[in-house]
């Protein structure tokens, strides 16, 4: 087996057993990057020298028996909106083109502590605003399955890097589907955990009440393994939760849900959906859903049914209101979060701008791209005097209604199943001309962010053009283990099926 074909967990195991050196893994990955990066452009910044230094230390740690964790020695990538001490962090924006933070995101520190080798910062939509990675100031990333297509977004660089084997796993961030959708478009596994599971400290905020960091990986096991490393309460993030200490019936956890406790997500990797209740929202299968995607998703549901799950369609309700509520809230928060980029403390400053206000306005006009400005303007408007109640508060009330609809659904089902996106990856250059149309493609992923729920995207086939299709499994808050179990069961079933087909052929 070639080094690059290992999953992260497999690779680490072989490294810890001394069969593969960290340096060999790194060499293999950089060779792959040399071969493919020029065409795909997954990375904004590659950390070659730094990675070699890390590799030496990690190898020493492994040899000394200090690094025994399941990611030790594995080359991974990090989305470029997570701060990395001493390594520039751009958010794929001109305004942060030369920004080198003096601190690291908690998620990044956890990866490092686990012995992962961070090899680069991946491309993304500017400030995570976009669904195609085309709004990056540093140029588009291409879909490794077909370079005429986008990789999805906003974590498009991370998804493409995993798919192209330019790393073994990557971190992304998901505000409205930004991990799950590119995972779907690139044929990898991507997961957004329950809000508060992974610290947001050091993640450059887009929509603070919606943002979560999540893994993009080759399979469900890698995904659960990385999440287990990332999860945990962080004193630096007031909104991070201590899942070990949660009490069912309180803390947003429904009573009688014992499974939620703990961050030991890999325990959920069991081929067992016997008796699991799975609901498919009828609204998710209606107009706008590509027939090929529909077929693939329903076929996947059947597989889970064959494995013993109880699967049925149901009416979820309020589906179409999630997008307008989301864009109101996300834009409002973004307009405030991005105020700090003003040309004073760090980042781009317009030259010869004149007085203070002219400097602000020119710096921001030149430093931000079109989509970011569009959302800042919208967000400033919905918070402005006279519109706050009608738009912002209204959206927060609708969020409450949507939460209620999902609470009712989870009273009946363990898992909600559906597509990740209405179509497979769009062609390069097709999406940005009509922003509203692009926003509409977030319809299946956005609710999980509004309601804090976890969601996972698992590959479930390809369309005629050979582009991957993703299956989405959504769980109730803190029910990661249920969706991981369903995802793992499905993945194993498909693997076994492929194996037997290969055996036949």
């Amino acid at each position: 087996m070639k080094i690059l074909d290992h999953t992260a967990v497999e690779l680490s195991e072989r490294i810890r057993q001394g069969e593969i050196k960290v340096a060999e893994a790194l060499e293999a990955v950089f060779a792959q990057i040399d071969a493919r990066e020029k065409e795909l452009h997954c990375y904004v910044t590659l950390m070659r020298e730094n990675a070699w230094e890390q590799a030496d230390l990690i190898q020493a740690g492994i040899d000394a028996g200090n690094l025994t964790g399941p990611l030790a020695g594995v080359p991974v990538a990090v989305k470029d909106n997570m701060c990395t001490e001493g390594i520039r962090t751009t958010c794929s924006s001109k305004i942060l083109e030369h920004f080198v933070p003096g601190y690291s995101a908690t998620a990044v520190e956890k990866l490092r502590a686990a012995g992962a080798v961070i090899i680069g910062k991946t491309n993304m939509d500017e400030f995570a605003m976009g669904s195609t990675t085309e709004t990056s100031y540093f140029g588009v990333t291409k879909n490794p399955h077909h370079t005429g297509y986008v990789p999805g977004g906003s974590s498009g660089g991370s998804a493409a890097a995993v798919a192209a084997k330019e790393c073994f796993a990557a971190l992304g961030s998901d505000t409205g589907g930004s991990v799950r959708q590119p995972a779907s478009h690139c044929g990898v596994v991507g997961m957004k955990p329950t809000y508060g599971t992974v610290s947001r400290y050091g993640l450059i905020a887009y929509g603070s009440s919606l943002d979560q960091i999540g893994p993009l990986a080759k399979d469900v096991r890698d995904c659960a393994t990385i999440l287990e490393i990332l999860a945990g309460r962080d004193d630096k993030d007031s909104t991070s939760v201590d899942r070990e200490q949660m009490i069912p019936g309180k803390d947003g956890v429904k009573s009688g849900e014992a499974l939620c406790a703990g961050n030991d997500f890999t325990k959920a990797l069991q081929e067992d959906v016997q008796g699991m209740r799975i609901g498919i929202p009828r609204d998710y299968l209606k107009d706008g859903l590509d027939p090929e995607v529909r077929t693939a998703v329903l076929t996947a549901a059947e597989v889970l049914g064959q494995k013993g799950a109880f699967v049925e369609e149901f009416d979820l309700g309020l589906v179409k209101y999630a997008i307008p509520a989301y864009y109101t809230i996300a834009s409002a928060e973004a307009s405030s979060n991005l105020e700090r980029f003003d040309g004073i403390k760090y980042g781009y400053r317009a030259a010869e701008a004149g007085d203070l206000h002219a400097m602000y306005k020119k710096t921001r006009a030149q430093g931000f791209g079109v989509e970011v400005k569009r959302r800042i303007l919208l967000g400033s408007f919905v918070l402005s005097s006279g519109y706050y109640d009608a738009y912002y508060l209204k959206a927060l009330r609708v969020k409450a209604l949507i939460k209620k609809v999902f609470d009712e659904a989870f009273a009946k089902y363990d898992v909600i199943l559906g597509p990740v996106a209405p179509t497979t990856a769009p062609k390069l250059g097709e999406s940005l001309s009509d922003p509203l149309k692009m926003y509409l493609s977030d319809i299946y992923t956005i609710s999980a962010n509004l309601t804090g729920m976890p969601g996972i995207s698992v590959p479930c086939g390809e369309d005629k053009a050979g582009l991957p299709i993703g299956l989405q499994l959504i769980g109730d808050c803190f029910q990661e283990k249920k969706i991981l179990r369903a995802a793992y069961t499905y993945e194993q079933a498909i693997k076994a099926d492929a194996g037997s087909q290969n055996g036949r052929g």
Binding site: P324, G347, L377, S380, R397, L436, T451
Partner: protein
């Protein structure tokens, strides 16, 4: 159809500190009108008596204790400054 007039765009661009060219203003107006029209769908929902939800879980009372944990980090804080003088950030003259 929501009508966003020039004054609204002008005001929002001042609030958001974004300089817009004439073309950009026209485009911003169109974009915002379209988006707001779409958002207006929310008015179809009766939200009377519904409390706006900010945090999805009932989180409360997250504190730090009043203990100094940070030393002098000036070098790091100033490392990315576009312009620096005497250990401070330089900005165009503010109201004197």
């Amino acid at each position: 159809m929501k009508v966003i007039d020039d004054a609204v765009i002008e005001n929002v661009s001042i609030l958001a500190k974004l300089e817009l060219s004439e073309d950009e203003k026209v485009q911003a107006k169109l974009d915002m009108e379209k988006m707001l029209e779409y958002i207006d769908q929310l008015d179809e929902l009766d939200t009377e008596g519904i409390e706006p939800v900010i945090h999805i879980f009932p989180m409360e009372n997250v504190f730090r204790e009043d203990v100094v944990t940070n030393g002098d980090m000036r070098e790091m804080i100033l490392a990315n400054a576009p312009e620096e003088k005497s250990g401070m950030f330089v900005v165009p003259q503010t109201f004197a």
